[in-house]
């Protein structure tokens, strides 16, 4: 990954400005990872920063970010409705520069939509929204996640060399923040699932004890009775178990010691 890239167009007498912008970008991303309640929120804010950081006077960019896992899109976010519409258009057609960037894991540049012949159907539709050029930069994430940053410019040749370098640089940095956000989300979900499992298991174990006492049978036999009852009545195992307990004790709420 290139270490020296400019966020803004090179300007004489402003040495160090790009470095300061980059520093702010990293801090901003860290804040977002900490403050966002879910990955979608994080992505939306990141897409907005990309659009702001990479836009130039007279070249206002739109940005969309798509995250896929095992080839299924799991989160999409965009800086504005134009980017969202273009991302959706591409997903509905099923081909286009951004999907190609995802599949090939390499950057795709469409300098002039009118002249491009690789995705005729998409290009034709995209042209109607008033954009002239596209840059799709893949984000390298921990497996099995993948992501792509889609940048749309209203002008043809909207991505000169330094613009592309800046986009690649920002994408590389944002990838780490996105990896963190995805990890946190996954751990949070696993924690929630485990907490729910402990609660549900308590209810079911209690009901198993009730069935064992009533039917004078082993634990396994009691379990089989519960499973059969659930499948015959087409009710969830936990609901049948809760019904058994409330039938005896009248309890409807089961306090567990697993609450934090």
């Amino acid at each position: 990954m290139s270490q020296d890239f400019d966020i803004r167009e090179p300007q004489s007498g402003k040495v160090g400005r790009a470095g300061a912008g980059l520093h702010e970008f990293v801090l901003h991303l860290q804040d977002l990872v900490l403050a966002s309640s879910d990955v979608r929120e994080f992505l939306a804010a990141t897409a907005a920063i990309f659009a702001t950081q990479l836009s130039q006077p007279g070249n206002h960019l739109s940005c969309g970010i798509t995250v896929v896992r095992q080839k299924r899109p799991v989160a999409v976010a965009s800086s504005d409705t134009l980017a969202r519409n273009l991302d959706e258009l591409q997903n509905s057609i099923g081909h286009g520069p951004c999907l190609t960037a995802l599949r090939t894991k390499s950057m795709v540049h469409v300098p002039d939509l009118d002249a491009d012949v690789r995705w005729p159907k998409y290009n034709q539709e995209a042209r109607k929204t008033g954009i002239g050029s596209i840059l799709a930069v893949p984000m390298h994430l921990q497996a099995p996640s993948q992501a792509v940053v889609n940048l749309y410019s209203p002008n043809t040749d909207g991505f000169p060399h330094h613009g592309m370098d800046a986009a690649v640089g920002l994408t590389g940095i944002a990838a780490k923040a996105l990896d963190l956000a995805l990890n946190i989300a996954q751990l949070r979900d696993a924690r929630d699932d485990l907490a729910a499992a402990l609660k549900s298991r308590t209810v079911i174990d209690t009901a198993i004890g009730v069935i064992m006492a009533q039917s004078r049978c082993s634990r396994d036999a009691a379990f089989q009775i519960l499973v059969n009852a659930s499948s015959h009545r087409n009710m969830k195992l936990k609901e049948v178990a809760a019904g058994i307990i409330s039938g005896i004790a009248g309890e409807r709420v089961f306090p567990t010691t697993y609450d934090e």
Binding site: V67, D189, R216
Partner: protein
């Protein structure tokens, strides 16, 4: 004492079909292995995650009750619709 040896002890052919069915549903149901295992544990399952994985890949046999519980877990998760036992919970 009830004869629990007879309970849930299906024919070998049925067992294989049941596992195949569970494996196919698992793959098409958009459920991750940790999410499936956690749910299965929550309804009283006793086999660890590796054992459930091995069962779904047709490498080991499990007690009939444990197979029923895996089946039940898959059924209940799929009935809740994708996203209930999230692949990633985004």
């Amino acid at each position: 004492m009830m004869d629990d040896g007879g309970l849930g002890t299906p024919q070998p052919a049925f067992e294989a079909a049941q596992r195949k069915f569970a494996a196919v549903q698992f793959q098409s149901g958009n459920i991750s292995l940790p999410a499936l295992w956690t749910y299965y544990y929550g309804i009283g399952g006793n086999v660890d995650q590796l054992g459930v994985d091995a069962y779904l890949h047709e490498l080991v046999e499990l007690a009939p009750l444990q197979m029923d519980l895996i089946q039940t877990a898959i059924k209940e998760i799929t009935a809740d619709g994708p996203g209930s036992a999230h692949v990633s919970g985004l």
